[in-house]
């Protein structure tokens, strides 16, 4: 029951947290404030004429069927990437846990893709699946499947999902391996003695015990799919064909950097910011209440 402060007033703690606070202010609060302000303006590209329009930019978005389309697409893309990346990683982690020899090699190889920059990952997949030159496109063609992601929206979406998933599996794998390893061996051994097979042991013991990690990864993965996949999409499809792979973050960039519509672009990033804030709040509430460490 410590109710009184035991240290005298001192400048030191403030000095110690100052760098963190300054960084947050300069690199987060200030740009976020700018975006918020910009979202209320209609401005020409050069900033020569500026008009304060309150929520007009947001109203325009609400009436833009392509924006709503991008919303649905983002939801589909993000949940698919998160689900695929997590299930693949969990499967690999469960397998690696059972390997006796060469564990280190497997782990290292599986973690590699995480070190690849998104744009580089995108370029890699573009080369493999190029309808004219790509080796996979060629292989698909020989078995009679016509691959052309430059024209077929579903194929384009499949390709960006694959590329985005491939890159994220490594990260998830790392966390799952750590989570599985932290489970006391005695629990698993006891279950084995009771006659539970590997599958039964996984679902009855391992799976429930790694749920905190899973929830953490779910949030991280969705945030990844929302934002960090920009480079992959930019390198593979540029949002095409026919907007089939244009997710929200890509549209923010496109409308701002290509369309030079700064107000509309800022309004979109404010909405994105709101989504992240909501997701983070949900994460913390959930973790505080439901997950036992």
């Amino acid at each position: 029951m410590l109710k009184r402060v035991h240290f005298g007033p001192s400048l030191l703690p403030f000095l110690l947290v100052a760098p963190q606070i300054i960084i947050t202010l300069v690199f987060f609060m200030w740009p976020a404030g700018q975006a918020l302000y910009q979202s209320f303006l209609i401005e020409d590209a050069f900033g020569l004429s500026t008009e304060f329009v309150w929520f007009d930019n947001f109203k325009d978005l609400w009436n833009d069927s392509y924006y709503l389309g991008a919303f649905k697409r983002t939801a589909f893309f993000s949940f698919t990437v998160a689900a695929l990346a997590m299930s693949t990683a969990l499967l690999l982690a469960a397998m690696v846990d059972r390997i006796i020899k060469g564990v280190f090699t497997y782990r290292t190889l599986l973690i590699w893709p995480y070190a690849v920059a998104p744009v580089v990952a995108g370029a890699l997949w573009v080369f493999m699946f190029d309808p004219t030159l790509g080796i996979f496109a060629y292989a698909l063609h020989t078995v009679g499947y016509d691959w052309n992601h430059k024209l077929n929206g579903n194929q384009a979406m499949t390709l960006v999902i694959l590329a985005a998933t491939w890159k994220q599996v490594a990260y998830n794998f790392l966390f799952f391996v750590a989570a599985i390893q932290s489970i006391p061996k005695s629990l698993i051994e006891a279950a084995a003695i009771d006659g539970a097979g590997p599958v039964k042991r996984f679902f009855s013991i391992i799976f429930p015990l790694i749920t905190p990690t899973m929830f953490f990864l779910l949030v991280v993965n969705i945030v990844y799919a929302f934002f960090d996949t920009f480079g992959i999409i930019h390198a593979i499809t540029q949002g095409g064909p026919y907007k089939a792979t244009e997710i929200l973050v890509y549209k923010v960039w496109y409308d701002g950097a290509v369309g030079l519509d700064l107000g509309g672009s800022a309004a979109q990033s404010v909405i994105l910011m709101a989504i992240v804030i909501v997701m983070t709040v949900v994460q913390f509430r959930y973790i505080e209440r439901k997950v036992e460490y």
Binding site: I42, E43, D44, A45, F46, G47, L48, S49, D130, P131, T132, L133, N148, K150, L151, N152, G153, Q238, G240, P241, Y242, K243, A257, V258, G259, L260, D261
Partner: protein, 437 residues
């Protein structure tokens, strides 16, 4: 010992810095451009050559990424008051730059303010008309301009028994069929589809792409490219995909590999792909004029350009602009232009430069390389073939790309695709109109 060497070098360095500051009493002129790779080296050479001709100014070129990135960088720099003197902007950014009246310094005005001789009549009309005001004042200096041509695989033509390259769409389809009969899997393809199949198709057949003289006469322009001629042609192309006559290979120059790998026998795209095709194609190739749609017109009008111009941005010392004017004049000299044209496949911007190239025997040694100039100067440009001036056109091009992709994918008919493109494009035109009024 060590200390004294150090001191000595410090003194030397100080002396050198002193020297170099006196040497750079030169005014630096920043030039942001979007020419990567080999063309970037050529840009550096032009700047270095200009710097060697005089000692007052030093042009400093800087590569800022692709066209879109360069333009965005310049816009952002202007907002931060850090703009370069000269920025290279692609032709579809023209309306955006024009509308920024306080930001850009029109070439005619720049030349007059700097008291430099400037004769606009030496420039090719089809090139400069894209960048003139309705009063005939030049807004930006044409730098790299090209126009679409029909590239063809001479070896494949010979094998298929095609005598002369096609002149009309009917002949093009017949040639494509012969190529298929000879064992190829694809007749033809094209890139930059909005530019080639809508913008230039219109100009070539003297059809407007939009009202108000394609936007030259006013911001209240509306698109009209969903006309019968365009729709019929596109529908026929889409239908011919099934037999392999036409194959879509992606936006911009993505379909280049279809041509250079020998898969498609013909390819319509910019004359500036000359260098790339020469590097990549393992067959002999030729270029000829775009095909004529005999259902639409009896004779071709003229094609319009693509590429980029150099815009001068305001906000620097007035003295700097005399140097910018000198540099612009240097760029337009026949020698510089002829060299640039022959190296890159971009068209020369002055008549003198193309005459010089002819005198140097370039066209005799490289048959077909004058196709682009011939197309551009086929006839005096009409309001339909002078160029385009639509706001937000960068995005409009992407809209056209998307709708055409829907057509190629069989999700829409040509009529539906063009109607939607016009509708979406008009919405952007209205947005531009309201932001610039």
């Amino acid at each position: 010992m060590k200390l004294s060497t150090y001191a000595l070098s410090a003194v030397a360095a100080a002396a050198l810095t002193g020297l170099s500051t006196t040497a750079t009493a030169q005014t630096e002129i920043q030039w942001w451009h979007a020419m990567g790779g080999a063309n970037g080296e050529r840009v550096d050479k032009i700047a270095a050559d200009f710097n060697a001709t005089q000692s007052d100014y030093k042009v400093v070129p800087a590569y800022k990424g692709n066209y879109t990135e360069t333009m965005t960088a310049a816009v952002a720099a202007f907002r931060a008051n850090e703009q370069p003197h000269i920025v290279q902007v692609f032709e579809v950014g023209t309306a955006t730059m024009m509308a920024a009246k306080g930001a850009v310094y029109p070439i005619t005005e720049l030349m007059a303010d700097a008291n430099k001789d400037f004769d606009q009549s030496v420039y090719l009309p089809a090139v400069v008309s894209y960048y003139q005001t309705s009063d005939g004042d030049l807004l930006s200096m044409p730098f790299n301009s090209s126009t679409p041509v029909l590239w063809y695989n001479k070896d494949a033509f010979e094998k298929a028994g095609i005598g002369a390259p096609p002149k009309t769409w009917d002949e093009l389809n017949a040639a494509a069929q012969k190529l298929l009969d000879s064992g190829m899997t694809c007749g033809y393809s094209f890139g930059w589809q909005s530019w080639v199949m809508i913008e230039n198709y219109g100009a070539w057949h003297n059809l407007p792409m939009g009202t108000e003289e394609n936007g030259f006469a006013g911001l209240d322009t509306e698109f009209t490219f969903n006309n019968e001629a365009v729709v019929n042609r596109l529908q026929s192309i889409a239908d011919s995909q099934a037999s392999g006559l036409f194959k879509y290979g992606g936006r911009r120059g993505d379909s280049l590999s279809l041509f250079t790998s020998g898969e498609c026998g013909m390819w319509m795209n910019s004359s500036a792909y000359y260098g790339s095709i020469k590097d990549q194609a393992k067959f002999t190739f030729g270029q000829t004029m775009l095909p004529l749609d005999t259902d639409v017109a009896d004779a071709a009008q003229n094609s319009i350009i693509g590429g980029a111009t150099l815009w001068v941005l305001r906000g620097h010392d007035q003295g700097d602009y005399a140097g910018v004017a000198d540099f612009m004049n240097y760029l337009s000299t026949p020698e510089v232009q002829a060299w640039w044209h022959q190296e890159t496949g971009y068209v020369p911007i002055t008549t003198a430069a193309s005459t010089l190239s002819a005198e140097q025997g370039f066209y005799d040694a490289n048959p077909g390389t004058d196709t682009a100039i011939k197309e551009l100067s086929l006839n005096a440009p009409t309001p339909n073939s002078r160029g385009l001036r639509f706001g937000n056109f960068v995005q409009v091009r992407d809209i056209i790309n998307e709708e055409m992709e829907a057509l190629w994918a069989g999700k829409a008919t040509a009529q539906q695709a063009m109607d939607t493109a016009v509708e979406r494009g008009n919405a952007l035109l209205r947005k531009f109109e309201s932001a610039n009024n």
